[in-house]
């Protein structure tokens, strides 16, 4: 492909390939990105009048969000299963698990669509309160990350992936592993978002 070493092969002293290290550093920056917003949530909650956040928080739908949590957890396990299938050279299973992952992600977006439009229908917007502001911003940024992830996952479902599998199996497995790490991170953010926004 090019003359850059350690794209797939692990460098002996660090034990990693380049993209593995790269995606973890990217994940580190994303932790800080969502961290900024979580920090804002904490700050704003303390700054708000007593009971303000409880009042606005109670307007959110816990069942919808619980369902969404289960969707993402499922998509996480199917993501890692699709990678495992590639390592076991079971291309059809890879496609199947990848497909389920994508469907779970899409379903998450559909639920979120209903959540948001439901709020708008009741005249509740980001400007309605600081709670709603931070709710829409946090979940909105998370939605953008889901969409980004889905775009990559769909790419790996297309003929391009088939071609990659024919030419360089290790490369495709590596790419799916890296994509999987990003996808798990997006799930990880939701695991914290869910109780903080919906249950507290």
């Amino acid at each position: 492909m090019s003359n850059i070493p350690y794209i797939l092969e692990e460098r002996p002293d660090t034990g990693m390939n380049n993209s593995k290290l790269g995606i973890w550093i990217f994940i580190a920056s994303e932790i800080m990105l969502f961290g900024g917003l979580f920090s804002a949530y904490v700050f704003l909650r303390i700054a708000a009048p007593e009971g303000d956040f409880d009042y606005w928080g109670s307007k959110l739908s816990v069942p919808m969000a619980t369902f969404n949590t289960l969707l993402l957890i499922t998509s996480s396990v199917t993501m890692v299963m699709s990678w495992a299938s590639l390592k076991l050279q079971q291309y059809d299973k890879y496609k199947m698990y990848l497909g389920i992952t994508i469907l779970c992600g899409l379903a998450f977006l559909v639920v979120k669509y209903f959540e948001y439009t439901g709020k708008f229908h009741h005249g509740i917007y980001p400007s309605s309160s600081t709670y709603m502001g931070i709710y829409f911003t946090l979940t909105g940024l998370h939605v953008l990350h889901i969409i980004g992830g889905l775009l990559v996952l769909v790419f790996f479902f297309t003929k391009q992936a088939d071609k990659m599998w024919e030419q360089d199996q290790e490369l495709l497995a590596n790419r799916i592993e890296i994509t999987g790490l990003y996808w798990h991170f997006v799930d990880l953010v939701w695991i914290f978002l869910f109780p903080i926004l919906y249950l507290l």
């Binding site: 492909m1 660090t14 034990g15 990693m16 593995k20 290290l21 973890w24 550093i25 580190a28 932790i31 800080m32 961290g35 900024g36 979580f38 920090s39 904490v42 700050f43 303390i46 700054a47 816990v62 619980t66 949590t69 289960l70 957890i73 499922t74 996480s76 396990v77 993501m79 890692v80 299963m81 495992a84 590639l86 390592k87 076991l88 050279q89 024919e166 030419q167 360089d168 199996q169 290790e170 490369l171 497995a173 999987g180 790490l181 798990h184 991170f185 799930d187 990880l188 695991i191 914290f192 869910f194 109780p195 903080i196 249950l199 507290l200």
Partner: protein, 107 residues
């Protein structure tokens, strides 16, 4: 052009064992989700609710990190980067909070 590069077959047993772990972790995550929601209906103070929620979320997150993201088997370099990030994250979370409560004037 590069030849067809195949995946080395020597990890098959390893992966099979991992698959069992993945399924178990999935079940644990699903159960913990139900636990989180159930606990939120308990009549506890905000601080207690907060700690329970964060603890359960941390357990779930650790499961995802350790098993789905293979952090348990990962090289020290990655673990150090994450540890540094967590320190920076905690600084970001706590210090503005403490500044707020340590105001010269009353809020």
């Amino acid at each position: 052009m590069s030849q067809n590069k195949e995946i080395k077959e020597n990890h098959a047993e390893d992966i099979q064992h991992h698959i069992k772990v993945y399924v178990n972790v999935f079940i644990a995550l699903a159960i913990l989700t139900v636990v989180t929601v159930a606990v939120s209906f308990l009549d506890v103070s905000f601080i207690e609710a907060f700690f329970i929620a964060i603890t359960v979320a941390t357990i779930k997150g650790s499961l995802v990190l350790s098993f789905f993201m293979h952090l348990l088997e990962e090289k020290p370099a990655v673990i150090w980067i994450l540890a540094t990030t967590m320190v920076a994250f905690l600084i970001l979370m706590f210090i503005p909070l403490i500044s707020l409560t340590d105001q010269a004037n009353a809020w």
